[in-house]
């Protein structure tokens, strides 16, 4: 399963990385215990769902990837005057780097 990179130290999950209610003072009474249990279940469910979504997003496509070139941001036609300059001459090429 792919794992998202977290160079920034930020969690890729929208919820805390551990069950935040686990660290609270123990609930008292049957209602409090039930609420704490349900919150834990909710955290685990949410965390699991986000893990699946993240791994899907990061899954590498194995097939061949083709793409079309992108048109320019804008383009326009200009009139130019063509001047005959014959074939271009070679440009001066320094050999300074090759001399010892």
């Amino acid at each position: 399963m792919s794992v998202i990179e977290t160079d920034s130290g930020m969690s890729p999950f929208s919820w805390p990385s551990h069950d935040p209610w686990r660290d609270l003072s123990p609930a008292e009474g049957p209602e409090g215990l039930e609420i704490q249990r349900q919150l834990g279940n909710l955290w685990r469910h949410r965390r699991s769902a986000e893990s699946i979504r993240l791994s899907d997003d990061l899954e590498t496509f194995q097939g061949e990837v083709a793409y079309r070139s992108i048109p320019p941001k804008r383009s326009y036609v200009v009139r130019v005057v063509c001047v005959e300059v014959r074939k271009g001459e070679p440009r001066p090429f320094s050999l300074d780097d090759l001399t010892e």
Partner: protein, 169 residues
Amino acid sequence: MNIWLKTFGSDLEQGDYLPDCALPMVGPDFEPTIGESKIVIEIRDLIVITQSCDLANAKVQFAALCPIYGLDHFESINPDFTKRGRWESVRKGRVEGLHLLGSPEDPQNNRLALVVDFGEIYSLPVAYLANRAGQQGNRWRLQSPYLEHFSQAFARFFMRVGLPVQIPE
């Protein structure tokens, strides 16, 4: 560590991001007859791929550049890239011709990343590019080691050798 550094002035280096450069294009029926003719000017955002040492020592009069796009722009033409796993393949270097760079403004936001298309290589006069760079005020320059990673990716793309017959899988 920053991926990009803000710079200004007309000095050019490999990895310089130059928005809105003008590229003169000739069509298939272009005839350079003496007199008036027409050419198309395309405006593109480009990134310099010529080596910095060649630019610094005036070894070249033309610089090579590749187009660079935002992911949304690229996806608008290539909707397949909105599908799951496509950008991850590019990020891992498995798509020939494309290279991802982190966003200059918000490197942690991968949706603001930029993609370079090595499949289109343009050449423009260094003098024009230097003048253009000088007009732009603050602009972005790719930093090491992302610069070397980018340069190596281009080299790997360009040095490919196609074989007439492959060893069967």
